[in-house]
Symmetry: C2
Subunit: 351 residues, 2 copies
Amino acid sequence: MDMLRSAGDPRPVSIRDVAMAVGVSYQTVSRVINGHPSVKESTRAAVLAAIAQLGFRPNRAARALAGGLVQSVTVLTGDTTLYGPAQLLRGIEEAARAADFVVSVRVINSAAPLDVRAAVDNVVESGGAVIVVAWDHAGTRALAAVPRGVPVAAAVETPLDGRAEGRPWVWIDDRAAAAVATRHLLDFGHRTVHYVSIPSPVDTRMIGWRETLLAAGITPPEPVRGRWDPRSGYEAGQRLARDRSATAVLCGNDDMAFGLLRALHDAGRTVPDSMSVVGFDDMPQSEFAIPALTTVRQDFAALGRACFGLLRDRMDDPAAVRVGPAPVLIHRESCGPPPARRTTRTRRTTE
Amino acid sequence: MDMLRSAGDPRPVSIRDVAMAVGVSYQTVSRVINGHPSVKESTRAAVLAAIAQLGFRPNRAARALAGGLVQSVTVLTGDTTLYGPAQLLRGIEEAARAADFVVSVRVINSAAPLDVRAAVDNVVESGGAVIVVAWDHAGTRALAAVPRGVPVAAAVETPLDGRAEGRPWVWIDDRAAAAVATRHLLDFGHRTVHYVSIPSPVDTRMIGWRETLLAAGITPPEPVRGRWDPRSGYEAGQRLARDRSATAVLCGNDDMAFGLLRALHDAGRTVPDSMSVVGFDDMPQSEFAIPALTTVRQDFAALGRACFGLLRDRMDDPAAVRVGPAPVLIHRESCGPPPARRTTRTRRTTE
DNA sequence: CTGAAAGCGCTTACAG
DNA sequence: CTGAAAGCGCTTACAG
């Protein structure tokens, strides 16, 4: 449609050009692009036609300045190269692009109050909506710092009470998933299940694991602290490998499980014969690990789409709610009965 | 500094507030924040002091509308969840944030001319600068579609002539790295090296591999086509495993190498005893693969910082140049002599 | 239902 | 060196 603009005119078509083409004032054009109700149907149609024909697209900066709706979101997040955040961002971007929103990204590395405040101020003053990834300290603080009135949605840890309670929250129920994974291991006959934690302020995967053990009358062993990355999983694996009574581990994410698998391998502990391992995420590599990793699939891209959907829904209906995708346990090769029972392949069926 | 704004005033401090505080016109304030030369030193100092004290921050939308400098970049990219693009984006964001730029992301999935055009138009009309990740068809087309006058920088495949020639390009020399990796394998005594390709329009890793073989008087075998993901590496591995004459493979990236390692494992081909494998990237997981993966480390985050740096440099000096980080071969466990020579551990030293 | 006015916060010439 | 004017493209009340 570019050919319809007079060639050589350097400036893009504006609301005035459209108005002129139709023979109305430019305010009327503004009304139709903003869906204002009081516009005669015939003039609305004429304006719409002119918009299409001239290829008009509203100037976002002008809109923002004049106080109109902004069609932009900025994502406040931690390290975007980690699997979860990366997929989440991808989901947000997809949904935002489909809705013709511009998406900006601002990484918050530090949880220092001043840094968080600076990040939030910076974002808020530019006028758009915000999605915060509140999986770490910096994120939860940022979420708390978003002023009232700013359209916001957040990806959060599973709330302890399992409810959003009117707040713009969306999550994947990893607490329930951790319970399922832990139960899966217990059902194989393991006497206990160890846990390698993620550095979340409130690790709900750990909670699900702990609750399941407790419910089975087992005192949860001390969790091994991890930090998301394979190396921390390797270190955890070294510790666990030394403990001959340890026969099953749940890892807070797959990246750590990879490192753990390697540590076990180095220590001569075979998986699953000598140790069963379950991860969290189901990364593209997990299926090809040696052995293939049993893990909890979490659809972070879908979560991202839900975040954006919630944000938009809330702009119309402040009570809108969205639920995140359900996690699912993917059975692969890294789990089996504990060593003592292995010969008979006993599978515990009693509760 | 928030306490210094009169509480209850909903609107952020503007250029006028600063002017009023200092006792000058707001145009003068504009001049100092834009570094205009003709401002008396004493008034400049006074204005700067007032800006700091009031916590003034220029409104980006207003600036953009008025035609000022925009301090925003949008990144035009393919799938941001792949390792390279994700790290690149991270590097760009880091550098941009440090320079107080807003960074937006727009994913281009389709290389269809209309889709590319739409993406570029959308970005350009919002006024800021653009960084394009031109590693695929969509990206290269987008780069070509950026109008003159728009500040731009691009992450590109290694140019065939090895030179940027005044263009705003930055890259990692993966062609040279592929040559080094291939030579490494040949030096172990392998009679040839196979290659699993990446789906780039021009795969410069493949070129480096091919050239090295040719230089050694070896006719390059047909490359096995890959698609970035572990699964395609697995499929490639299945094919290669059947070929008993194949003893060494260079993979276009680590993700495919993971899949390939698994395929080899499933086929009973041990690594490196029966087959040597080299990857590309050095992902965090690569070190923990079984066996640990020999690979070419590529610092994409540094490349991203270079991209942004080049963009800024060019805004002042259109002839500015930046060179990307040098790739480096990381030696680990997945390489060794071919089976026939293994017993004697011969290492070919002649050229 | 639709125009004319005022203003969003800033920058860029234009005068002094 | 610094003010006053005009304008960026749009939206929101205010009149009709």
